[in-house]
């Protein structure tokens, strides 16, 4: 089974029924698997803060949400993460493409990569980093943890984990 399919299976097993995505080449397989999964309502968003608003609404409406995005989004969503997701204590698994790490071909991506963990740390967001193939084994436990503590939680997935470009 592909890693993308395994990730979506973990979403489904943890009751996630509402997933918003902002496109990413590295996460293209996961986004396609989300789209194919009949038990998930897939709603692409135009910007990640919009997506977090949708997820907040879906959660209050009774559906477990998740967002799939690039690490550049951390720069876009700080205000939303602190004044909506954290302030109202809502769970939000964030599956993040960690661009700008080893094997990155685009220099500009590194500029955001060097701030990614620092920003997440500053925001007190629990952060997990999938670096080696097989690290996805922890996803099920991370999702359970997210919905146990009602916090946004970051799952960074880098190029080494995905097998390069």
């Amino acid at each position: 089974m592909s890693v993308s399919k395994k990730i979506v299976n973990d979403f489904v097993a943890n009751g996630i029924e509402f997933v918003t995505t902002v496109p990413c080449k590295q996460l293209g397989g996961v986004i396609a698997a989300v789209e194919k999964e009949p038990s998930i309502y897939h709603i692409p968003s135009n910007k990640e803060d919009e997506g977090m608003g949708l997820c907040a609404g879906a959660f209050m409406g009774g559906k477990r949400p998740a967002i799939i995005m690039q690490n550049t989004a951390i720069g876009v969503t700080v205000n939303t993460l602190v004044t909506l997701t954290q302030f109202y204590r809502m769970p939000l698994p964030m599956l993040i493409s960690y661009r700008g790490e080893l094997k990155e071909p685009v220099a500009c991506q590194v500029e955001m990569a060097v701030h990614t963990k620092a920003l997440l740390n500053q925001l007190n967001i629990p952060t997990y980093h999938f670096h080696q193939p097989g690290d996805e084994q922890e996803l099920d436990a991370i999702l359970k943890y997210t919905f146990m503590c009602n916090k946004p939680v970051a799952i960074l997935t880098d190029a080494t984990f995905w097998g390069g470009y």
Partner: protein
């Protein structure tokens, strides 16, 4: 008519619905006029009232009304294509368009100049967009609720504010009582 007068007018209609209310003065006004557990007051995060409301509407069956402003919709203009392409017939977006950023001192918005949010919403693919005068808001809103078709309402009004207290309720309390209303069944 200014925004607070529209809110006073429509409060009896909002009472029985799930409402997501925009940050700043709109939430403070509605909270002062007719506080309901079924209203989710935004205490921060300008621009996301429509996104939160659409999320609630897509996740369950009850009617959801997002009260938004012209300035807030301009902040999150990407919301309109998302709404148009993810039709939830239990969702109503009510944009109270006073042509200004009311909560920050009535600085003019582009919606009060050359930009028509009604035309923008239609161009984004929203199928039922109704522009109305402030005085008609209640009638148009009630018709939208009864129609059970996703509707965007742009209610044009004058800018201007009244003095209102800030909301001091804890955000988790606001969220919890709203979620209880989502699942409440009428006996």
């Amino acid at each position: 008519m200014i925004r607070s007068e529209i809110i006073r007018d429509i409060a009896p209609i909002l009472r029985d619905q799930l409402v997501v209310c925009n940050i700043g003065l709109p939430s403070q006004e509605l909270h002062m006029i007719d506080d309901q557990a079924s209203t989710f007051y935004m205490l921060g995060t300008m621009g996301l009232s429509s996104s939160i409301g659409l999320g609630v509407a897509l996740a369950q069956q009850k009617t959801v009304i997002s009260i938004d402003g012209d300035g807030s919709v301009l902040t999150n203009l990407g919301t309109l294509p998302t709404i148009a392409n993810n039709v939830a017939d239990n969702f109503i977006l009510l944009i109270i368009d006073n042509g200004s950023y009311g909560s920050t001192g009535d600085q003019p918005t582009y919606a009060g100049k050359k930009t028509s949010l009604t035309a923008v919403a239609r161009a984004c693919g929203c199928e039922n967009v109704i522009e109305c005068h402030a005085e008609e808001t209640g009638v148009v809103l009630q018709a939208a609720i009864d129609s059970k078709v996703m509707t965007v309402i742009v209610a044009k009004c004058e800018s201007g504010n009244i003095k209102v207290p800030v909301i001091t309720k804890d955000p988790v309390v606001i969220r919890d009582r709203f979620m209880n209303e989502v699942v409440r069944t009428d006996e």
